[in-house]
């Protein structure tokens, strides 16, 4: 047996080529490098407020935001001190940044009665970096996660109950400005409450938390997270609801409905009146038996 074994050992020693050790070393190095390349960026994304991310956020902030909000987010006052040109961002939290930058409202192009939403110029990663930086200025509301505003994991009756409750809360707290089906409405001095149908639920949640522009806050002490979730579920259910009354005309109530009635409805009546009273074709022939 020993002889056999020895011969076997000898055989394998013969088979291993002179470069085998080098190949194994190379394979090991490749595997380590490949694994690092595969996992390290994901790790960097997951750590929300790593020092690198905050540093990147600060660089972006200095370029895009500091002109109005100050180099350290402290806000800028006018020379006479009577007017706040850009508000302080200390304590507004990551949620405010994610809402304002994520919906394109910030950076704003010009001052005015209302900052409109527009296409977002930053990538998701840059928005996250900005939010991470502003979150370091002072404690404030964090960016909500999907579990905060989705009804997943609930039974059908629980979902229906949540939507019904959200509807009541919506009609009590939101309808006054945002219209009964979230179509938005006019506010004093050139402002407006924007349309909130079809808006990303995350942005609705953030707007409730932070109260952008002239909107009052609905912080977690005011409307509990569950109540916020229900309001968002109600808004989502409006999108699925069929239009039983015909064209919704933007859900603006008497304005668009009146316009349609006057232009289309009365226009059609006029067309019929013209048809009834129009001259009919005449013939040059005489009636034979007349």
């Amino acid at each position: 047996m020993r002889l056999l074994n020895r011969s076997a050992g000898r055989l394998s020693r013969h088979r291993r080529g002179p470069l085998a050790g080098l190949v194994v070393l190379l394979l090991g190095l490749l595997l380590t490098g490949g694994l690092y390349a595969a996992f390290s960026p994901a790790q960097a994304d997951q750590t929300g407020s790593s020092a690198d991310q905050v540093a990147q956020g600060r660089r972006l902030f200095l370029v895009s935001c500091s002109f109005c909000h100050g180099q350290n987010g402290e806000g800028v006052r006018s020379q006479d001190g009577d007017h706040q040109l850009g508000p302080s961002l200390i304590g507004v939290g990551a949620a405010a940044v994610d809402f304002q930058v994520g919906t394109g409202r910030m950076p704003m192009t010009q001052p005015g009665a209302q900052v409109p939403d527009k296409p977002n110029v930053f990538s998701d990663q840059e928005v996250a970096a900005l939010a991470a930086y502003v979150a370091t200025l002072g404690p404030g509301p964090a960016i909500p996660t999907k579990s905060d505003y989705s009804l997943e994991g609930m039974s059908e009756t629980q979902k229906q109950d949540a939507i019904a409750r959200g509807g009541q809360i919506f009609l009590t707290n939101c309808t006054a400005c945002h219209n009964f089906e979230g179509s938005g409405g006019a506010m004093p001095r050139g402002g407006y409450a924007p349309k909130i149908r079809g808006v990303d639920p995350k942005h609705i949640y953030e707007a409730l938390l932070t109260g952008p522009q002239n909107m009052p806050n609905f912080t977690n002490g005011n409307l509990t997270p569950d109540e916020k979730r229900d309001v968002i579920a109600y808004l989502g259910s409006l999108n699925e609801m069929k239009e039983y009354g015909g064209f919704g005309l933007g859900g603006l109530g008497p304005v668009s409905e009146g316009l349609a009635a006057w232009l289309v409805g009365i226009g059609l009546c006029l067309a019929f009146a013209v048809w009834i009273a129009a001259h009919t074709t005449r013939s040059t022939k005489k009636k034979v038996d007349a």
């Binding site: 009590t172 006054a176 004093p188 039983y244 019929f272 013939s283």
Partner: protein, 355 residues
């Protein structure tokens, strides 16, 4: 014919015909359907087709009513409403269109003259009527017997009084409501709010701690009595609930304490910058909650009355004549926001006795 008789009656007939000869009617031109039997048949078929289409729509409507479920959809529309509406519209429209086509193509369209009749009755008739009327007045002696005439006028006039009495009795007057006091906060001078009643969130009815609210928060709130004011702590019901809610609704806002300009005697009505005002507009009573956190203005959507909540809800714009009543706040032993008392003035629109 009566026409010739009335023509003779016209006084200026002779003169006008002398000066301006009556040109008569222009020559009548026939329609193609009048002279061509083929076209006439075609128009007839068109009209009949429209009436048939109307009938088809009606039958279709009945079919749709049974065939289409309540939850079915066509695109984003509710299918049943839409098909029923379209079929009924078609049924009515085709009848109308058929009638118009019939009148325009087939009914006689030759112009004819129909003389206008004089509006007044003949002189003889008028004289006879006046004579009969005068005779009646004379015979009844209404002019000569003022006692009869005046008592008649009095009796007829008095007939209006029962209407006033019965209309007044349709519901209790505010004074009766207060006297009988069937529920808390009855009458127009008071609400359900009282000392120590908690301010709770509308809809859910949860009480509020001052630490729950941040600067800029707005809470649409109600008196807790709506949720536990009934017998055995049950929620209020019926008239009591509706009246309590209509008069007791409030808005609670939090602002920086140094932004508040307290009115005289209202220095301790707020808690850490938390203020509470009636939600019922003092103009015509719309519920208001359009709040701008930066200006502290509360705007009424009905007629644009604007109130400055930092300055005792002073009216800064619009038709409202007086500020929103403020509810004095304090914190109870459990740490929740409660009212110090009822409003110290009636909420809602002004009324006569209030001035």
């Amino acid at each position: 014919m009566s026409d010739s008789h009335e023509l003779a009656n016209l006084p200026d007939e002779a003169v006008t015909t002398d000066l301006y000869a009556d040109p008569g009617l222009p020559e009548h031109h026939w329609r193609p359907t009048d002279v061509d039997p083929k076209l006439e048949k075609r128009a007839e078929r068109q009209v009949a087709l429209m009436f048939t289409l109307s009938a088809v729509c009606t039958v279709l409507m009945i079919v749709c009513y049974f065939a289409i479920g309540r939850d079915d959809a066509i695109g984003s529309f509710g299918a049943q409403n839409m098909t029923l509406g379209l079929c009924l519209a078609g049924a009515l429209l085709f009848i109308g269109m058929g009638v118009i086509q019939w009148a325009r193509k087939l009914m006689a369209d030759q112009e004819i003259i129909e003389m206008r009749h004089p509006a007044a009755s003949s002189e003889a008739d008028r004289e006879a009527t006046v004579a009969a009327l005068n005779a009646g007045i004379e015979e009844s002696g209404i002019g000569r017997r003022p006692l009869v005439r005046n008592s008649l006028l009095g009796a007829v006039g008095l007939l209006g009084v029962p209407a006033i009495v019965m209309l007044r009795d349709l519901g209790p007057t505010p004074n009766q409501v207060v006297k009988e006091d069937p529920y808390p906060g009855a009458g127009i001078s008071h609400t359900i709010w009282s000392d120590g009643m908690r301010v709770v969130r509308d809809v859910v009815g949860t009480p509020i701690r001052p630490s729950d609210l941040e600067v800029g928060d707005l809470v649409n709130a109600e008196p807790e009595g709506l949720f536990n004011g009934g017998p055995d702590g049950e929620p209020l019901e019926g008239v009591a609930l509706q009246v309590g809610k209509a008069k007791g609704a409030v808005v609670v806002v939090r602002m920086q304490p140094d932004e508040i300009i307290p009115g005289p005697g209202r220095e301790n009505w707020s808690v850490d910058g938390i203020l509470c005002y009636s939600k019922i507009c003092t103009h015509v009573g719309c519920p208001i909650s359009l709040y701008e956190r930066t200006t502290h203005h509360l705007l009424c959507p009905c007629h644009q009355s604007t109130f400055d909540l930092a300055d005792s809800a002073r009216v800064v714009f619009g038709p409202a004549a007086r500020p929103l009543p403020q509810l004095p706040l304090k914190v109870d032993s459990d740490g929740y926001l409660v009212a110090q008392s009822d409003f110290n003035e009636p909420v809602g629109p002004s009324f006569w006795e209030r001035g």
